[in-house]
Subunit: 438 residues, 2 copies
């Protein structure tokens, strides 16, 4: 479950809350710079943010998880090798171009790291590169290196917000979550907003803490926290080539209660994961599916994913249409294809707390229909509205509430459970992605 | 490959071609009736077509394939038992409500079959029920039985078109394909248009022939033909609870050349499968993916499906945007999740015959970009246009051409291949499905 149930009346209220979340743990500084450039593959002007997260001292206590996509980006290829380095001192992040399968992509990223290292007094291998954006294009290396002095010059302690704002692409608003624990803090930022069904790791997430957690423990705890949070979400079933979750400890605050730290880390990861879904491309309803009484945790999670990835059910939710037939269809499709023989005769399902299916048949009537519609409407983030030329875009740049479409599915044949978060499929998603590069 | 490369200037040209396709094989009659009713779960007026396909004499030579969805509809449950019957005399098909997991659904369908049998001079178990439409609602039993005399009274030889028109739901036009072989013919009709990623069988397809093919051979040949056609398409990755493919032989034309018959059957199935995709919900571009040099046919097909089911790539195609990064992402997602360790270093990919990827990197430049856009535009079926209130609907009720977005992927590590058909993800799909029941 999320740790908050917030509502925001307007952008200003959300930004004030974000600012309060954003206080940097001791030992970190962030800075960023922006510049215009022209991609060489498709010459149209674009603007790139270059964000730097720097430690005051390089730290051995860092952890990172990367995508399982078989075409990982150059930063992921490099990042995997950085895990063996004795210490890390900075992360250099760009948006707009993800540096995936681009000619000379790894060497380009290494040269950017080397240029950053020179300015930060680090060795090149103490710098982790990170990129998000269009797949297949090459980084504008010269322009990035030219912008580095401005980003490094802007480095400042105080707030992580410049980084949270710098890493966005199609996100509607920055995402920051924190937990204060044991005299220190954990602060995480995340970048969504599409191509998100993480497999092991997810999108771009950076978690900073001043609590002194040794490298080995930090890596174990991050893997567990990511599995329970980022690996349980899907916006569009597309696993990115760039998914990355990084955790850094500056080690400034001695701490012994690892249980408390891990609980706080889980909270930050779960909250950020829900933020990523809530601000997923085109999402107007968050859908939370809890599957109980399953034979295995894997089946419970897979069924939850099958529900939130079923395009017809997602469209029904977008239209506030309680077409629960599509829900049962999605469950039956997954079981028929991947777990044939599973006994579904005891399946019970509810939507918004209202029973819709049990004993092998639907339990529907006009009164329930009206109540189901009301539940869907209550979880809507904003009303869809078409602009000139048929383009739909979200009219908000803050999350008005944290409600979700709540689905409960009890399989009746086991003790395992899982909760999965996803969203609806909307005109806004199509508008966003049918001409994202245009 | 499809057996035709047709273009149609307008609806009249398409309907004239359909009429020529529709000549019924000897020994069959079709009839239909329509009526208004009110579903009891969500009281809004609706109109149902009741279609009857009847043999002049019951035949032992029938075959049927059904969905693997774990929540099959009542007609599928009944249909599986009919396979053991000595003969079949008629099919009764309704649209609007699919009779899936509805209370008393199997008994209701059996009572409709019994009523039809009484009027046709058959035993109830010689009638196959078939339904498509909303999942979860109950059939309007009394109204259906009341409409049966009109449908049976309309039975006529000559044309299959009344049945092809009667079974549609969200289809834009009826689908009929034929092959003339050995002095007889094979005529197939299909109903799409959403919830389509068949698993073993697909949507509703009825194939009628007067060629005398014994039951066992007909069943084997239908299974092979469906695997190479309906099982190689996906409109939205959603496997229906009602997918059904039925083949009936009236046995009127003696025939010995089973090879020729099977080739003709494959052709009809492939052509119908492509028709189903071309008229898939919201589809403005058909996407044909051929995967070659794969280690296994299963991997080749799965990769093709991963490409045509990747929502981001589908959206890019909708926008005539050659965002081939999303293509590589979709391949990498599937391999990373389901075939890790597969060597992709030799992968080559082309779009519209233009090389876009080889040697581990993209091969892009502004000239190719323009040529790729032109290829996408040439495969577009119609331009998207928004109506009042932001609703998008297809402005055509015929297929203007049979062109497709042509993707070739060579994996370089095997000899297996597969071709998969899918389509783009459009505003029209969202409009269709965000308020399909409204």
């Amino acid at each position: 479950m999320p740790s908050t149930q917030l509502t925001f009346a307007d952008r200003a209220a959300h930004r004030a809350w974000l600012a309060a979340q954003s206080s940097l743990p001791a030992g970190f500084r962030v800075g960023r710079a922006s510049f215009d450039f022209t991609p060489r593959e498709a010459p149209k002007p674009a603007r790139m943010n270059l964000t730097v997260i720097a430690l005051d001292q390089p730290t051995p206590a860092f952890a990172a998880l990367f995508t399982r996509n078989a075409f990982p980006g150059a930063p992921v290829i490099i990042g995997r090798t950085r895990l063996a380095e004795p210490s890390l001192g900075a992360i250099v992040i760009n948006n707009k171009i993800s540096n995936v399968c681009a000619p000379d992509g790894v060497a380009t990223a290494e040269r950017v790291c080397a240029a950053a290292a020179a300015q930060l007094g680090l060795s090149p291998r103490q710098v982790l590169p990170s990129s998000t954006g269009v797949i297949g294009w090459a980084l504008p290396e010269e322009a990035m290196i030219a912008a580095l002095p401005a980003a490094v010059g802007a480095l400042a302690p105080g707030s992580v917000l410049p980084a949270a704002e710098g890493i966005v692409t199609t996100d509607l608003y920055p995402k920051v979550r924190r937990a204060d624990v044991g005299g220190g803090s954990i602060v995480g930022i995340a970048k969504g907003a599409g191509m998100i069904e993480p497999n092991l790791a997810t999108m771009l997430v950076y978690i900073l803490t001043d609590i002194a957690v040794p490298r080995a423990e930090l890596r174990q705890m991050l893997a567990r926290a990511a599995d329970a949070s980022f690996n349980a979400i899907s916006i569009d079933s597309d696993t990115s080539t760039s998914d990355t979750v990084v955790a850094l400890s500056s080690g400034r605050v001695p701490f012994a209660d690892w249980g408390a730290f891990e609980r706080a880390l889980h909270q930050v990861c779960r909250d950020l994961a829900e933020d990523v879904v809530r601000n997923g491309e085109g999402i107007r309803h968050v859908i939370r599916v809890t599957v109980r009484e399953a034979a295995s945790p894997a089946l419970a999670r897979a069924l939850g994913k099958a529900v939130v990835n079923g395009p017809l059910f997602k469209c029904a939710v977008a239209g506030n249409d309680p077409n629960v037939g599509r829900l049962i269809q999605a469950i039956g499709k997954h079981v028929g294809a991947h777990a044939p023989g599973t006994d579904l005769s005891g399946l019970r399902a509810s939507l918004g707390g209202i029973e819709i299916f049990s004993g092998g048949v639907f339990r529907l009537n006009p009164e329930k229909e009206a109540a189901l519609v009301a539940h869907l409407r209550s979880a809507e983030l904003y009303a869809s509205q078409v602009g000139p030329d048929g383009v739909f875009s979200a009219p908000i740049d803050f999350p008005p509430h944290e409600r979700a479409v709540e689905l409960e599915i009890a399989l009746g044949n086991g003790a395992a459970s899982a909760t999965v978060l996803g969203g609806d499929l909307t005109h806004e998603y199509v508008s966003e992605n049918a001409d994202y590069r245009s």
